[in-house]
């Protein structure tokens, strides 16, 4: 009996036992479709997460911050100037693995324009910051090297602040805004930044619309009495994959300057975002549900097949009397389940595809059933069917012909 013939027999058997076939199919279809749906949504979601990381600086962006001083600082620790603007300029000059170095001075000040006033964050930095964080002005311009050199009292407003203080971004351009008691000229307003993991989730980047950027040198000149200590340093590796090497070089250079490792270097983006974590968990739960229903489908198939083997003991006895070998009986039962598994996998894939489309449409989530997912679904369904069929097939094949014929 050839393989093709075994499969044809399997198909015929599946058709002859339509009731059991339909029940087995149901289990396989439910299991396969939920796995397909989950994997498709999961794939879409991880693409969203990647987009998010790219949005907040991308792969290859690292942030340097002061490490908290120890309880009993050593002399070397006390001698260090900590993270300074001088460090930033030194790295810009020496660190060959970096494409951009943006110093960051961070503080909160009172904003005032016309009758409106509120407290909010201010970031003192250089033009490199815009390059690293993918910031584009909606009107006007971003900070320039000249602004930094001249310690100019100019500010670039986030979209929300321009809106709050002056009504519209256009109206803000060229106007004066009072920040921390000093007067600044608005030279630019940034585009509104928006990123959401799903329609119902909020704007992950809203904080970026609620701030102003001033030259880092101006910040020191106006607010710190020329103390050039930084809150953070944002660095961009020359290549997205070079972040590791860049991190090593920066560590070496800064340790040389500080005489001690009193700073922490962390990659930007990834990790720490609770919404992204939530979606991962959400997907994981559905994946578990899919696997469980597929296994349940497999158990259903195994049970149905076992029952049908018991029901057909005399039939197997007769087949053996007509010359069927144990292997041929085994192949017959297994071929039947394989045919069912293939059909179940294909139908489950179709249903999963439809389900994915529906969920993606109504929840505005990106999702796609890739060839990889389709293959995985069929293979999984086949495996489950095969494993479920093995034991009943084995039982049928091991029957003794005499006892099988005697079986009432």
């Amino acid at each position: 009996m050839s393989l093709l013939e075994a499969l044809l027999v399997g198909l015929a058997e599946a058709r002859r036992h339509l009731g059991q076939t339909l029940l087995s199919l149901l289990g396989l279809i439910l299991g396969t479709s939920s796995i397909v749906t989950v994997l498709a949504l999961f794939g879409g979601q991880s693409k969203v997460t990647q987009d998010y990381i790219a949005e907040v600086g991308g792969f290859g962006t690292v942030i340097v911050r002061d490490r908290e001083q120890s309880q009993r600082p050593t002399a070397r620790e006390l001698a260090s100037d900590r993270l300074t603007y001088r460090d930033a300029r030194y790295l810009k000059e020496r660190a060959t693995t970096l494409s951009a170095v943006a110093p960051g001075y961070f503080s909160e000040f009172e904003y005032r324009a016309g009758g409106i006033h509120f407290r909010g964050p201010v970031i003192g930095t250089t033009p490199d910051y815009a390059a690293i964080n993918d910031i584009t002005p909606l009107v006007g311009r971003y900070l320039s090297d000249l602004d930094v050199w001249r310690k100019a009292r100019v500010a670039v407003l986030g979209w929300k602040y321009a809106d709050s203080l002056f009504g519209t971004p256009d109206a803000a351009l060229g106007r004066r805004v009072d920040i921390g008691g000093r007067s600044f000229t608005v030279v630019g307003v940034l585009e509104r930044e928006y990123f959401s993991f799903a329609v119902w989730a909020g704007n992950e980047l809203e904080y970026r619309n609620e701030r102003a950027y001033i030259p880092v040198t101006t910040a020191f000149n106006q607010f710190t009495g020329n103390d050039d200590r930084l809150s953070f340093l944002t660095l961009k590796a020359a290549s997205p994959t070079g972040a590791r090497v860049a991190q090593q070089q920066v560590t070496a250079l800064l340790r040389f300057r500080h005489g001690v490792e009193d700073f922490d270097i962390t990659p930007s983006g990834g990790g720490g975002n609770s919404d992204a974590d939530f979606f991962l968990l959400f997907n994981f739960i559905f994946l578990v549900v899919g696997v469980v229903s597929l296994v349940a489908g497999g158990v259903v198939i195994a049970n149905i097949l076992l029952a049908s083997v018991v029901e057909r003991v005399r039939e197997f006895g007769t087949r053996m009397a007509l010359g069927a070998t144990g292997f041929q009986i085994f192949a017959q039962v297994l071929a039947q389940v394989v045919v069912v598994a293939v059909i179940g996998g294909a139908l489950g894939l179709t249903l999963g595809w439809a389900l994915t489309g529906t969920v993606a449409y109504f929840m505005k989530m990106p999702a796609a059933v890739t060839p990889m997912i389709a293959t995985l679904a069929i293979v999984t369904s086949l495996t489950v069917g095969f494993v479920a069929g093995l034991y009943p097939a084995f039982r049928a094949a091991r029957l003794s012909p005499v006892e099988a014929l005697r079986y009432a």
């Binding site: 002859r16 036992h17 006895g317 007769t318 053996m320 007509l322 010359g323 070998t325 005499v402 014929l405």
Partner: protein
């Protein structure tokens, strides 16, 4: 050389703690072209003898040559091949596959033998069915046939592989007298065509159809 030559067949099996000696040294010789009836009361061991002669089971001890080949020591797959090529079975309860058509049922032994296309198998099945007057029934299911028709389908199935011997178990047991007479007529014709038949029955009238009888009692051949 006889078709069946079995010497000193014994069969012992374990039924729970009890050791059942179903056959206690049986000698059977059947020549080619013979029509033999094996008779005996139930529990005499005649069914066990038929199972061993039909290669469904192997003897505990003894020698058995079927068509010039020793089969006493064969098991599993090898025994299945012998059954497929040398033996045709007809059962009391017909044992047709209920969800297959009549012609598919008849062709089944050839499917297990391999080497025939589906078309060739079904063509041969149809030829045999016409010979048994069932030419208009080939597409029917067994449950659409009368008992006599079903038994003739079973005979056709037993013959499709050109077996050396036809093993028949109580062929009239589930038939009314008219259908029973009809099937016995069919066996006479099959015998007349040169086939060897071994028939197990406890019905003396049926046994009288055969050329000779072998009577089994208490696991031994009675005189």
């Amino acid at each position: 050389m006889p078709l069946i030559e079995a010497l000193g067949l014994t069969k012992v099996y374990q039924l729970g703690r009890v050791e059942v000696r179903a056959l206690r040294g049986v000698d059977v010789v059947v020549e080619r072209g013979e029509y033999v009836a094996v008779t005996g009361p139930s529990g005499s061991g005649k069914s066990t003898l038929m199972h061993i002669l039909g290669c469904l089971d192997s003897p505990t001890s003894g020698a058995y040559e079927l068509d010039g080949k020793s089969v006493a020591g064969l098991r599993g797959r090898a025994l299945a091949h012998v059954r497929n090529r040398k033996v045709g079975f007809v059962f009391q309860t017909f044992n047709l596959m209920p969800r297959m058509t009549v012609e598919e049922n008849v062709a089944l032994p050839l499917q297990y033998r391999g080497g025939h296309s589906r078309q060739a198998r079904l063509r041969r099945a149809r030829t045999l069915l016409e010979r048994f007057g069932l030419g208009d029934r080939i597409g029917h299911r067994p449950d659409e046939l009368s008992g006599g028709e079903r038994q003739r389908v079973a005979v056709a199935r037993a013959l499709i592989g050109d077996p050396a011997i036809l093993m028949v178990d109580e062929p009239t047991g589930n038939l009314d007298s008219e259908a029973g007479a009809e099937i016995l007529r069919a066996f006479r014709e099959v015998h007349a065509a040169g086939n060897t038949i071994v028939m197990v029955t406890h019905d003396a009238a049926v046994a009288a159809e055969a050329d000779r009888g072998i009577h089994i009692a208490d696991g031994q051949v009675a005189a």
